[in-house]
Amino acid sequence: AAHEGERGRDGALGIIYWQAPSIMNAYLSGGTKDIEAASLVTEPLGRYDETGAPVAWLVDEIPTVANGGVAEDLTSITWKLSEGLLWSDGTPVTSADVKFTADYCMDPEGGCAQLAKFEGVESVEVIDDLTVKVNFAAPTPNPYGPFMGNQSPIIQAAQFAECTGTRAPECTDANFMPIGTGPFVVTDFRTNDVIQLEANSNYRDPMKPAFQTVTFKGGGDAEAAGRAVLQTGEFDYAWNLQLAPDVIAAMADGGVGTPVSAFGTLVERIEMNMTDPSSDLPEGERATAAHPHPFLSDEKVRRALSMAIDRDLLVEVGYGDAGRATCNLVPAPAMYASDNTDCLVQDIDGAKALLDEAGWTDTDGNGIRDKDGVEMNILFQSSTNAVRQDFQALIKDWWEQIGTSVELRNIDGSVFFGGDPGSPDTFQKFYADVEMYANNFDGTDPASYLASYTCEKAPRPDSGWQGENINRYCDPAYDALVAELNGTADLDERSRIAKKLNDMVTKESMTIVPLVDRGRVSAHANTLGGVLLNTWDSELWNAADWYRIKE
């Protein structure tokens, strides 16, 4: 192919992320921008490719039960590093580095952001220079947490030896300019601004990367990033263009770049509050299981609200080609995606009928349905974001058509998604009736994602309002099924249980009302070749293969 040749032949590459990376250490920041920036330098043992399939990266093959890499009882996994791997400083990569990485993250003082990846890990053993074995405390059907995917890259023991525990944040040099195995090395790191990298001279493939230098600019907004790639051609690659489809389309007319999109597991959804968020309730009881929601606890109401939504229109307005209507919490991978399409057709009349049937009628003639003195006044909150505000407006319109009144509120993302227990505006506290945001899961296994909806994961005052089950959904049958899933290794069985769990929270109970399966839109210059947009791993996962298309 045209893109072969010596390392560095294609000169400079410009990447723009409208969120600026602040650190190059994936373990000290969970932020996508930071992890993806770091993925140019540090790499995990195995990755997922653009289809979600695992690929060996620093090893020769992905360990499985079949090839003996994973113990039959699912309590350990053994990784064998490829031979001859070198760090960018020229020293060899050994299994000690891998073990160190695990210890680094698992240090209780270190505040590691990827600790969840190491959940259940009992110990990591060095077998020999190239072999490392991870032991789990219990049988782990999905042993690919540690060292797999962009969240869990291998860091060099020598560089970080002095940086463990409470000292982790003090190693600014290491955190900004880590020594890695990836195609590039950092030459200049300016936090929240720009990173300059150059080709790693010790990279394992002598022909790669094609680019000699990379300028990784951060900051601004998605619009500006899109403009820089699609219209002015100042940059080659722009990440995550969260813009309305017409805006992207207009920019793409610029003719210098192309938007690309791919789907993953990110679902924009409406969460129904099962508890009463009324501010009349005393603090401590407000939005807790002690008080069921006055009308949303009625399944028919939730269903009616879902029926009133025209998901296709939402997609058209908000995401275009980068979205598709969905009724699933877990839309992918295919083996876990439930066949669930009932919600896709908007049915305003059906919704009205359903409410009438449930006894929610407008008895006092104010245009708002009520029952037993409870008016259907919905407080609908979301984070501040242009597309979400458009969605809010549209949904408000539909919901008002079926006889509810809707108040919209948007909250700055830094407050909404911040877990500050003191703030009334966090999404966990859920001092509103419904809220809208998007969530996804890492990798390809939805088990822990689905496990978030168990009773004990509901945010409560005594848990400091932490917990992922923000709807306060609580069904013992669901909890039991989650436990079953965790004990099941058989893939078909896992798929069946997962689909069942998905259906329980969505189409059966309407606790979660999925709206859009959101793809990722990024853009690259027409002269940039080799881009394979990957939503299962870092977008920059194959940056080593990128090259300049010569006219």
Binding site: G110, G111, A113, L115, A168, R227, S414, F417, G419
Partner: protein, 335 residues
């Protein structure tokens, strides 16, 4: 004069400490959490651990004095050490940003060049344009020039930069393709060609910011010139047979500049405060962008340090403005 300055400096110490305390409590009360930017996929327990690792477990009455100590003792020690190769700091904990886990002063120092280049330059340009406009508008009061000046400066004052900035980008970067829309903070000026590149990338943000400065300063200049043009000493100067240019540019201007200089001095802290929106639009990534990112990320040490530095500048420039008044106006003597 000296004792006056000294006295004011002494008074500013408690003032600043109080300001620091108020800012700290404000940030403490503010909702939001440094974990907000973490993906939702990170489980709450992990987030809690991260939070503790950031030192957020301690109550404010421990963290505030700690910050004070770091700001006033540790950071100067580090600075001294790096300047003279000593070792006073002895590995003491510096003020560390939550987001980047690096010392905030390093980041601030890194941001200074582009802030000074762009925001500072825009101020200089704005003032340089404003002064002649103000002078001419006053000298030719109610002329067409004056009327147009008023009109343009009011428009300039009332167009928000998030609009004018994008408009410029659409015109000059997208349509005409003359100027870059994204500022390159790594650009090094070492020859004429690179200087030209630097100029090109500065033009638009400087224009957007200068418009606002010009609008304000030219109004002050005009008012001040008008005040002074009617004074008796102007007639004296004319009666002495001085040229009109000498009369206006020396006698009147010198007097008119006294209040304007203090207005200009009072505007300088804003340079160091950065221009949040304009920096964001042109990706200048100076102090303004640093502040807004830190705010959005609830990076309390960064926000605290930046706002406090800003407060210091405000207090200092207030003082400088007062002292300047005394320096330029011989009638005012402070003791």
């Amino acid at each position: 004069m000296l004792t006056y300055t000294f006295r004011r400096l002494l008074i500013s110490i408690p003032t600043l400490l109080f300001i620091a305390f108020v800012i700290f409590m404000l940030l403490e009360l503010a909702p939001g959490d440094p974990m907000a930017n973490m993906p939702l996929t990170i489980p709450p327990e992990v987030k809690e651990k991260m939070r503790l690792a950031l030192g957020l477990g301690e109550p404010w009455w421990i963290r505030f004095p700690l910050w004070l100590k770091q700001f006033f003792i540790v950071e100067p020690q580090y600075w001294f050490d790096s300047a003279f190769g000593t070792n006073f700091a002895d590995g003491a904990q510096r003020i560390i940003s939550f987001q980047s886990r690096s010392p905030v002063f390093d980041t601030i120092a890194q941001r200074m060049p582009q802030t000074l280049w762009v925001v500072g330059m825009s101020y200089v340009v704005g003032v340089l344009i404003a002064l002649p406009i103000g002078i001419i508008s006053a000298y030719r009061q109610y002329s067409v020039f004056d009327q147009v000046g008023t009109f343009v400066s009011m428009i300039g004052f009332s167009v928000p930069p998030f609009f004018s900035g994008v408009l410029l980008i659409v015109i000059f970067s997208v349509t005409l393709g003359w100027l870059p829309s994204i500022y390159d903070t790594t650009h090094v000026v070492n020859d004429w060609a690179s200087f030209k590149v630097q100029l090109m990338q500065m033009v638009m943000p400087v224009m957007v910011l200068a418009l606002q400065t010009t609008a304000q300063v030219s109004r002050y200049m005009r008012a001040s010139m008008l005040d002074n043009l009617g004074q008796d000493y102007v007639r004296t100067a004319r009666a002495k047979g001085m040229k009109e240019s000498v009369v206006v540019m020396r006698h009147v201007l010198r007097n008119s500049m006294i209040p304007v200089i203090t207005v200009i001095a009072l505007g300088i802290p804003a340079i160091f405060g950065g221009a949040i929106i304009t920096e964001q639009i042109f990706k200048v990534n100076g102090l303004g962008q640093l502040l807004i990112i830190a705010l959005q990320g609830n990076d309390i040490p960064m926000v605290m340090t930046l706002t406090f530095l800003f407060a210091i500048l405000i207090v200092m420039f207030n003082l400088i403005a007062d002292v300047l008044y005394g320096v330029f106006d011989p009638r005012i003597r402070y003791d």
